[in-house]
Amino acid sequence: MSGPGRSGLLFDESTLFERSRPGRTGVQVEPLPASVPLIDPQAIWGAEHVRDDIEGFPELSEFDVVRHFTRISQWNLGIDSAAYPLGSCTMKYNPKLNEVVAALAGFQSLHPLAPDEATQGILALGHALEQALIEISGLDRVTLQPAAGAQGEFVGMQLVQAYHRAHGGASRNEVIIPDTAHGTNPASAALSGMQVVEVKSGPDGTLTPEALAAVVGPRTSALMLTNPNTLGIFEHHVQDLANVIHEAGGLVYLDGANMNALLGVAKPGDMGVDVMHFNLHKTFSTPHGGGGPGSGPVAVRNLLAPYLPTPIIRKEGDRYRLDHEFPHSIGRVHAFYGNVGMWIRALAYIRSLGGTGLGEVTQMAVLNANYLLERLREHYGTAQTGRVMHECVLTDKLQQEHHVSTADIGKRLMDHGFHPPTIYFPLVIAGALMIEPTETESLDSLDGLADSLIAIAQEAKTDPEHVRAAPHRTFVRRVDEVRAARKPKLRWTPPERE
């Protein structure tokens, strides 16, 4: 077949521990100054506190380590290598400039407990990012502390609960969450000690004010809404939904995972949203790093500002300081101030693009998603009848008669050199393939992805067995998840101990 060949080198790279050779080392530790004696810990701590070995720990040369990680990196697919249309994850290009500025020594070697006068540059940067997110959200205040979107959700829920407690609503402990929501929403609500009330979306995939009115009550704390929702559809009743919640005494939380569809187009603050989180690693191009670090700043209306996590950055004249005196704060959620390295990258991105550039991001992201949907509409089931925002959801409905599933389609896409879309999510759509191309994919790339998905739909008819057996060209074939879960082997152990 045409398309790319096997990716990566075919060395059978064993683990660090198997490659280890007694006596090797990869660094020369800086010697102690001549006047400082080297101490035996047993002499200070007592023998009972000292270990004499780190059993199994690697012993490798620097070159061993470089080869090892270079080789295994080549078995990975990143956005740098290929289109990565993971719905809800916004896998856009991560500009190299951002990596360079984040690595500046003045940021990298800065101790978090250095006095304010030593940290003016980073505090100014944090403040500037807060201001930008305030403008983008249409809300009043921002905290940059949450380390990821899920922690942002947790902070948001804590803020809402703190507000209710201060306003005679201590018994408000129900969070209303649509059935299309990300799994983190109910999990974050539960972690905040709240009850989850699920509400079904209507026939067009959006939540209706009627459905919402049926579940609100005196215990309603908040609505957690994703807009556009996970079907890629704008919740067009959002203002009415906010009214229903506000009239019931609750607040509106926005899961900002899909902000790539709204930049410069619409502001959550105008929709009646009271609190939201951003995902800097989605909307603002900071790299996903194989699963983090993320960063999940939270924006709020003034009514929630007294409860923000401590410390907060204050600007006084042209000086900045960290303010810890915040009596109503929900407290800290991070050992220091959050994933600062991600702030630097996100601000570099925002400054690169400016207001018009960010607007263009959303316009092109939405154009790309609609273009893909249009090209694929005849070949797959679709969850949406009309246009979409930044992502579209296809299904395996047309492939089912050939016993080819969404998982098979995703795996076969790897053979074409692409990362699979998000699969089996949202849960309300059977066999969902959720595709978010993002604005940084070129027309050629979109056409390549569409051509591949169409070819797979054809192949599902002509050679379904080949699709089911995919992937064929990756470094490993389909992995046995059942075996991994039944007999978990979560660490390397020396052969004799097995």
């Binding site: 990716s7 683990t15 521990f17 080392t25 990869g26 660094v27 530790v29 010697p31 102690l32 004696p37 701590w45 780190i54 690697p58 380590v65 990680f69 990975n76 956005i79 740098d80 990565y84 990596e99 500025v101 020594a105 070697s109 250095a114 003016q120 540059g121 980073i122 940067l125 979107g149 899920a150 983190t184 999990a187 974050s188 539960a190 410069g264 690693h281 790299p287 790093g289 194989g290 699963g291 983090g292 670090p293 993320g294 960063s295 407290g331 800290r332 050992a335 220091f336 690169s352 207001g355 154009l367 609609n370 273009y371 949907l373 070129s442 027309l443 074939r477 046995d480 998840e481 979560l490």
Partner: protein, 440 residues
Amino acid sequence: MSYTPHTPEEIAHMLRTVQAESVDDLFASIPLPLRSVGALKLPPPESEQSLLRSFAQLAGQNESADRVPSFLGAGAYHHFIPSAVSALASRGEFLTAYTPYQAEVSQGTLQAIFEFQTVICQLTGLDIANASLYDGASATAEAVLLALRATRKRRVYVSQGLHPHYLEVLRTYTAQLDIELESLPLGSDGRTLVTDLREDTAAVLIQQPNFFGCIEELNTVSETTHAAGALLLTSTSEPLALALLKPPGAVGVDVACGEAQSFGVPLGFGGPYVGFMAARSKLVRQLPGRLVGETVDKDGRRAFVMTLTTREQHIRRERATSNICTNQGLCALRVVIYLALLGKHGLRHLARVNLSLAEFTKQQLREIGCEPVYTGPTFNEFALRVPELEQRLSKLAPNELHPGLRLDTYDAARRDQLLVCTTEMNSRADVAKLVEALRL
């Protein structure tokens, strides 16, 4: 600067395909009153060249530890990072990959996490470890939540030697729960005093080495804790100490968590860092966060995959063991690269260098009348009583030296106390400068 590639012709072609007159048409589903008028009010776009200049200027306004001799530790440690760490971790294949949901195209990330889990197990002497958590503070809070789930009890004893920020995060995470957090005092040797534990005790939480740098005695704590039917949790913010210390698993610890920033992750003004958590294997289904396991592919070749995912939020939703989704994958990668480079001997030697320099510094400061607050042994950090601290510090020119952390920041009763940390980054001249600064 723009990262959107389409030419006007391409946009026109795409609009024809989707049968839209204009890009604006695509937003028809957003009610008009909600649509923004005009562009976002943000500073104008900047070129790459101009941005490099302005960010370098911001970075230059920080008095970072590469410019100012620093004795600050307290949960963030200035260690040397070998060049290979950044060179490897910044490879696009690692940097720009997503969470490895699709194992067949993510073997690099998965194998690296499996290796990370293994080195964490080896250092802690425990059976299993997860793929990382946000930082040491949230890892500590998650360890307490784990203990509450596993024991179904409601009282947690927390050592006063726990980092005050970790304690604050723990309080935030447990604020809505019907549990009791009780405080365990420190003795004059700086070690936690554990006496009678009530029957409803879920866990005892001790920092090792503790916030004041002291090495805790865990054998007896472990006996008392287990006799009460509770779990012993340790939190470690300076994991380099684990290269020399008896591993937590060997002294009865059930869950060892903490911060792994010391291992190849830059200070970075506090983040991103990387929390770790290791535990006894019987607690595996209670662990929060991602786990990678070894398995085989359909041809029988060794392969790695995320496993036991039913604990997680995307499947179990409100009943998940944690709400965590994204973790600190890239920082965990840095940790495992760093530890592979240092290796068994390099890491143990580095730990001895840190210990030796701290002991030397402690001795030098004693000679000018600054005594350690506690009598117990320490690793690379110690609490020091500096008579008339305020007066001595006021002599320092701004940003001449960061002499350590004033402990009255957290506890007014600790006036005249300074937490001093030395690492291999501190030269003999730095130590001389510190001694000079603290001399009355």
